[in-house]
C-alpha cells in the first residue's frame, strides 16, 4: 500500500479531509504528521493540506515554511526525490519554501472565493494526472483568498516549455480564457509542478471532490494517479 503523510500545521483545516480521501476513498495508508516532526522518510508521499497555517500572517505560507517539518520536506523532495503534493495553503507553502517557482497574490476581485470551478488537465503525463486524458475537464472546488498565481515572464516561459503547468482554470467546455479565470492567475494557472515532477502544488481541492454526495468525484483522478505512479515507479 502507498503510504501518505498528511502534515498538520497550526491552522490547517483540510488535513482530515485529505486523510479521509486517501484512507476511506482511495484505500491507501495515511497518517497525520505534526509540524514539529522530522520523521517523514518512511512515507511515499507527503501532502501539505489546505487551511490557514499560522493564521496566514505576513503572507500565506510564509511562516509555515520555517516549521521543523518543512526542513525535512526539503530533504524529502530535493535530496530523496520523493513526492510532495501541496493543496491550497499547501501550494502557498511550497511557493514560499522555494520548492515551486512564483508567488501568490490576493485574488483579483479581492474576495475569498469558495465555489466549484473547472480545471483543464494541461499535462496528463505526470504523477498527478496519469489517470486523466489531456484536456480533460475536472470539476473541483476552490476556497481561497490568495490564489492569484504570479511569476515573472522568464519563469512562466520556462514552466510552459518544460510542461510544468499541470492544471489551468477553464469553463465547463474546457475553454481557457479570462472569463473562466476565477482569481486572476497568470496564464489561468491552477496547478504546477517542479522540473523533476516530484513536487506539485494546486489551489483547487481534489479531496473535497471525492464522492457524488460532495458534488463531484473528479478529485479521485488526482489521488488515483498518485497511487498509480507510486506503485508503478517507486
Amino acid at each position: 500500500m502507498v503510504k501518505f503523510g498528511v502534515v498538520v500545521f497550526p491552522g490547517s483545516n483540510c488535513d482530515k479531509d485529505c486523510l479521509w480521501a486517501i484512507k476511506d476513498i482511495t484505500g491507501e495508508k495515511a497518517d497525520f504528521v505534526w509540524h514539529e516532526s522530522k520523521d517523514i522518510m518512511k512515507y511515499d508521499v507527503i501532502v501539505l493540506p489546505g487551511g490557514f497555517s499560522y493564521g496566514d500572517y505576513l503572507r500565506t505560507g510564509a511562516i509555515a515554511r520555517f516549521s521543523k517539518v518543512m526542513y525535512a520536506v526539503q530533504k524529502f523532495a530535493v535530496k530523496k526525490n520523493k513526492m510532495v503534493v501541496g493543496i491550497c495553503n499547501g501550494f502557498q507553502i511550497l511557493l514560499e519554501a522555494g520548492l515551486l517557482p512564483g508567488a501568490m497574490l490576493v485574488n483579483k476581485n479581492l474576495k475569498f472565493i469558495s465555489k466549484f470551478i473547472h480545471l483543464s488537465v494541461e499535462n496528463n503525463k505526470t504523477a498527478y494526472t496519469n489517470k486523466c486524458v489531456k484536456g480533460q475537464v475536472l470539476r473541483v472546488p476552490i476556497a481561497h483568498g490568495e490564489g492569484n498565481y504570479f511569476c515573472d515572464e522568464k519563469t512562466l516561459n520556462s514552466l510552459i516549455e518544460n510542461d510544468q503547468v499541470v492544471f489551468r482554470y477553464c469553463d465547463g467546455q474546457g475553454k481557457i480564457n479570462v472569463d473562466s479565470n476565477p482569481n486572476g492567475s497568470l496564464y489561468n494557472i491552477a496547478g504546477i509542478m517542479n522540473k523533476k515532477g516530484n513536487v506539485m502544488g494546486m489551489m483547487p481541492h481534489p479531496e473535497r471532490a471525492m464522492s457524488a454526495r460532495l458534488g463531484s468525484v473528479d478529485g479521485n483522478l488526482v489521488f488515483q494517479s498518485i497511487v498509480n505512479h507510486v506503485k508503478k515507479y517507486l
Partner: protein, 79 residues
C-alpha cells in the same frame, strides 16, 4: 537600542488589486488627481543590535522572511 522601520511593497509591474480598489474609491470620492495607489506593509522592529552589522541583519531578515522577492521589494530606516 535601535528602531528599524521597514516598508514592504509590491514590485513595479506586479498587479496590486488592493491598491487599485482604493484608487477606484478615491476617484469616486472626487480625488481626481491621483495617478496610482500602492498598498504595502509597515513593520517596526526594536533591536538591541545598534552596531555596524544591523543593516546587514535587517537585509537578511527581509530577504528571508519579511518580503517575498518574487513579488515584493522593501526599504527601511534605522533610528
Amino acid at each position: 537600542m535601535a528602531k528599524v522601520k521597514i516598508y514592504v511593497t509590491l514590485k513595479d509591474g506586479v498587479l496590486d488589486p488592493q491598491g487599485k480598489t482604493v484608487q477606484f474609491a478615491l476617484d469616486k470620492m472626487g480625488y481626481k488627481n491621483i495617478d496610482s495607489v500602492k498598498m504595502g506593509k509597515y513593520i517596526e522592529i526594536d533591536t538591541k543590535n545598534d552596531g555596524k552589522d544591523l543593516k546587514k541583519e535587517i537585509d537578511e531578515i527581509c530577504d528571508k522572511l519579511l518580503a517575498n522577492p518574487n513579488i515584493e521589494k522593501y526599504t527601511f530606516t534605522i533610528e
